[in-house]
Amino acid sequence: MSVESRPTGHAPDDPHAPEDRHAPDDPHRPDGPRALSDLGVDFCGLRLAHPVINASGTFDLVAAAAAFGEDALRAGFPFAAFVSKTITLAPRAGNPPPRLWEAPAGLINSIGLPNKGLDGYLAEELPALTRLLADTQGAGRPAPLITNVMGSTGEEIATLLAACDERPEIAALELNVSCPNVKTGLDIGADPRALREVLCEVRPATAKPLIVKLTPNTADVAACARAAEEGGADAVSLINTLRALALAPGTGAAWLGGRTGGLSGPAIRAVALAQVAAVAGAISIPIVGMGGVQNATHARDLLDAGAGLVAVGTESFRDPAVGARIARELRGAPAAAVA
């Protein structure tokens, strides 16, 4: 089945879609004079041009500028806000290769969060990102920068948040809680009680909006989302990749250098939809929904399930400009579906 065809809903270029007889600014429109092209979203106090952002670690702005040129990247900038890769306190080289395995309708990765560490990020990468994000939203406006951080203890996380809090170039923070607790070995984000505790500890470290990136590798994602809300999160984002394993053909041994990896892509879209819907029913803070989004129909599904923003990840690997196409397609969508 083509990803474009669905039993319900119409692609924006579908000739069979019901014709909209009302001009976007027509005051007689059923939903009033609201412009269809106005997809502006208020998210935790950030005014975004549309609801499409990137998933952390799936779009390297500095690399993209080298591959496509800064001007072309700015002109076609695909996201309304930009989420950095995960930053840790100490630099990380990442996992030994191989790091990729193509799965049925998806990808298993074991990249290992390579990054320059907090100091390197603040000194080198942040100025570069700030420069590249300038004037990406038209009329001289930058895309807000959301910095994603991860630590293995409350103290580490608080240090990361506090350091980022001092930088005005950073609009918001996203906390990756798919990190093993150094004491228990369990992912901090997989255990609601541990998650609430650590958030209560680190929340005072920043006044910036704090998004908690939930892990799907847990028994009860709604309970984890409630714990995040109770711990002081301003929003949650989900889903992160699903833990997955690939075996090297004929050997029975793990293919990936990091042994296990994270599954992403269309393969996880239905799981993402279920988890976003479950979380939406459990909390009152905003949700960034992601998982296998390839087009506006998939994005609308997540928005309908309760997400306020949608993030694109693996699909950007197939087409770096896809975020812009999805935002454009959403503009052509029925207003009710994106309200």
């Binding site: 591959a67 496509f68 072309a72 080289a93 290769p97 990729l100 193509e102 990765n109 293919w255 690997f317």
Partner: protein, 293 residues
Amino acid sequence: MALAPFGRRRVGVLGNDELGAYRVLRVADDGPAPAAGQFAMLAAVERWGGEQDERPHLARAFSYARWREREAHFLLEDVGPGTRRLGELRAGEELWLLGPLGSAFAPPAEGRRALLVGGGVGIAPLAIWQDALCAGETHDPRGAHDSPNKHDPLGAGDRHGAPLAPALLGFRDAARAQGAGLLSAVQVATDDGSVGHAGLVTELLADELDSDAHATVYACGPAPMLEAVRALCAKRAVPAQLALEAGMACGFGACHGCVVPRRGGGYLRVCLDGPVIDAAELDHVDAHAGAPA
């Protein structure tokens, strides 16, 4: 070196011609001309997915094998669901293409001759590089712009009668050795001895360097061959530029999936720092890469 337009573009297939065990996929491309060594990410517009194990899903990386008048050529070998699907494409069908991406071959150092060493389907970027070297599109250390070789056709000799950019190409068997037809001034080696020298292409390289070590080596092929080239050139202090292959998810530095260890620590991204990497940057060429094919 050319920058890729931002976003993949839809291009038409002009032909898909058999070349021994390989196919040469020809596409019409209005994008920028690639520099030799650069690559593109390719995916069929129709039926990309739903093959063996519901693959392929990601686009596949291919070096440009040739570029003429807005016609790009890519060399295919059927080694998995992605390459198989691309091999099925016929004139009139369409591809998604993102490129040109990555680094390019740099001209030989002053006074050195270019020596091309390829293995299997890895001969592709050497063909476009030989085109560039022989057309004088790049710096010619032996005569710069007034060189009489500048407009020599492919494979023509220089003023001493030696080929301008000779190619040493290794293949598994005779069917694959037909791929050598992409290049000129070729010496072939085959594993099974059916064509040319029976043995390794690096044995031909050792002989060439014995006769004249004043060369810059350009190599592309399977990792064990590249490692042998790297080791041989390092031992003889011959500069070498290696075009690496790796499974990639994106091709533009986003996923950090295609890395190889860098000499002195850390990793290089084959897509962004490469695919053409100075051999001096590597301690070893590992045979890790592989999927997705």
